[in-house]
Each structure stands twice: as structure tokens, then as C-alpha cells.
Symmetry: C2
């Protein structure tokens, strides 16, 4: 069986990353794809389910997992810990399942070091104007909140060139197809195909 691929997916807020990942997971008729569910010590928000949106754990348990080197990466954001489980991801990859890891550029840098075979995809908005529009359209936030979001988005975007693939999310369905195409192409790389067609290749090469 072929090993799955770990996909690191990053994007600025407003690029449509979450919607693209959701759509891909719903439409996985051709692909075995799952999204990595992070561990966190923060409290669940309304509608969030344990094991679906996050693995919600107490701080003591999180610190114990850090000691066990159970995380591919973890970070503390505003007093809360967030981490990515190495064991779960490695188990899924061994089953031939591709894993999506929704993470920012800093987490991506950590993951690349620990999982050098991971492929990374950066999703861009189609223009600065559209990004501003999308960040504004989210609610009735104050100008300075929006300006702060825009600055954060630009900071994230400045790392786009650390990624293997770049998708521009102008038309949602085109961007979704782009993601599927990347997954499909990666499954045709020689290493994956050698594992998948191991027996057939043995017979072809028998003298």
C-alpha cells in the first residue's frame, strides 16, 4: 500500500482556506483525505465538538504530551496551547490516507523539519482589493481591527514562497479543482506508484 501524503495548508485570513478544505473533505469520492485535528487547552466554543474541531485537553495533559514528544509542533497562543499529534498523523499516513494540516507559516516551518516528505500548499486571495473586501465582509468590525487583520494577512502572505504549491483562490471551484489536481499528481509520483504497483512491477521485471 502506498503511504499517504501530509499536506501543510497555509493562507492568510480571507483566502478561503477553511472553505476549500471543507469542500475537499466532503467531495472525497476519489481520495482518502482527512484533516488533522489539533489538541488544544482552550475551552470549546459553541458548536465545537471534541475530536471533530479539536481534541480538548487540560493543560496538565497537554504538558504531559509535550514531554512524551507526542506533538509534531505546538504553540502557545493567548494563554492556550495548540498542538499537532504526531502519532495520529503517522498512523493515518501509514494507512495510505492523505492528511491536511491547517497551520500558519511558523507551524509549517516546524512540520517541514520533522516531516521532510510533507508537501505544502499556500492559498492566496486573487488581489489586495478582494482580500480587503473579504476581511471587511466578515462583520461590523472597527477600522483598526480590519487594518490589523490586513497587516496579519500580509505578514502570513510574505511566507508564500516557502511552500511547494501556490493556489490563487479567485474562483472557488477552480481553486478546489487545483487542490484535487495536486493530490492526484502527488499520488502518481514514482515513490507512491512503486509501492502501489509493487507486485505488478515484480512480474513485469521478472526474466
Amino acid at each position: 500500500m502506498s503511504q499517504g501524503t501530509l499536506y501543510i495548508i497555509s493562507a492568510p485570513s480571507g483566502a478561503g482556506k477553511s472553505s476549500l478544505i471543507s469542500a475537499l473533505l466532503k467531495d472525497n469520492s476519489c481520495y482518502d483525505v482527512q484533516v488533522s485535528v489539533s489538541h488544544t487547552t482552550r475551552a470549546p466554543r459553541k458548536g465545537e465538538e471534541n475530536g471533530i474541531h479539536y481534541h480538548f485537553v487540560p493543560v496538565s495533559e497537554f504538558k504531559e504530551l509535550i514531554k512524551q514528544d507526542a506533538f509534531l509542533e505546538y504553540a502557545k497562543v493567548f494563554d492556550n496551547f495548540y498542538g499537532t499529534s504526531r502519532l495520529w498523523i503517522e498512523g493515518m499516513l501509514a494507512k495510505g490516507i492523505d492528511i491536511f494540516l491547517d497551520i500558519d507559516w511558523q507551524g509549517a516551518q516546524q512540520i517541514r523539519k520533522k516531516m521532510p516528505h510533507a508537501k505544502s500548499i499556500f492559498i492566496l486571495p486573487p488581489s489586495r482589493e478582494e482580500l480587503e473586501h473579504r476581511l471587511n465582509a466578515r462583520g461590523q468590525d472597527a477600522d483598526e481591527v480590519i487594518a490589523k487583520r490586513m497587516a496579519e494577512a500580509c505578514s502570513e502572505i510574505s511566507h508564500y514562497n516557502e511552500y511547494d504549491y501556490v493556489i490563487v483562490n479567485d474562483d472557488f471551484n477552480v481553486a478546489l479543482m487545483d487542490m484535487k489536481v495536486i493530490l492526484h499528481a502527488e499520488r502518481m509520483t514514482q515513490n507512491k506508484q512503486t509501492r502501489k504497483y509493487h507486485d505488478m512491477l515484480d512480474r513485469l521485471l521478472a526474466q
Copy 2:
């Protein structure tokens, strides 16, 4: 503008390489793709056109082109020279056109050294039985001719693991889609996208 990609395509006889390339060239609604036309010193066969199937040149001219380092690779096969024009390929790639280079594993090794950004695709038949069937189905050849073809095919196949991608041509339309998917995915690699979206990225990153 984004630089085109040079695709090295190899396969044993009977894998369907030529049919796949032809179909891809006819169906390039989405892609700028052309096939590299080799130079040769052999005489044209019936139906072969100069500049389409080969650039037919005299031996003296071929040797002059060798001196000028005009070939990415060349080889002498049964008293005839065959070569791949560096100038033509580099010109097409600069225009953003992807080039298909239909070549055996030995030529592929030479090309990889001179064009390290080339991507290579190996096309496999779906089984040994089907390969034997396809090699037999070609005509009324003697058993020993077929056995020789089979040995040559196995020899070519033994180099499949030197290639970036492997396509198994079981269902022709699936294999054709596989090739298109590889071309599409390569166009989303960060280097290509950075060139394509250069101006947009400048605006996104402006403070």
C-alpha cells in the same frame, strides 16, 4: 510569464506512449503543450514529414550541429544519428510552453543532467500479460522477434524508478487524465506561480 516545463516521457514499446502524447496534443484546450521534434540523418519513411515527424538533415549538417553544441542529447542508432535541439526547446520553454520529449532511458539520463528542472514521466503497461498481448497484436511477427521486443521492453521498464512520475496505462482515458493532472499540478508549483502572479504578489505584499 511563467517558464514552461520540459517533460521527459519514456515507456517500453506497447505502453501506449505515442497515443497518449498525440491525444494530449490534440486536446490541449487548457494547456500550451508541444512535442519536441528530433533531428535525424535517416531517410524519411512513407508519410513522414520534415519538421513534423523529424527534422531530416544530412550527416554533415548533423555533425556540424554537434560541434555547435546545439543538441541536448544525441545518439547513433543503426548508422543513423538522432538528436534533440537545445535551442528550439529553450525557446519554447521561455514562451511558457510545456515541451514533451519522447525519449528512452538513456536519452533521459543525458537530458536530466543538462536540464535539471525537467520533469520525467514513465508510462507502464498494466501487466506483463497485457504487454505481451500488445506486442503480439502489432502484426504477424515471428516468435523470436516478439521475444526480443519483450526483452527490450523489460530492459526499458527496469529504469522506471529514475522518473519523477509513473503512469500506469490500463484505461487510456484515465492515463490521459493522469498526464493532464501532472501538467496542471506542475503549473501550480511555487516557482511557476511566483512568475505568473508576480504583479499581484507585489501589490499584496506592499505595505
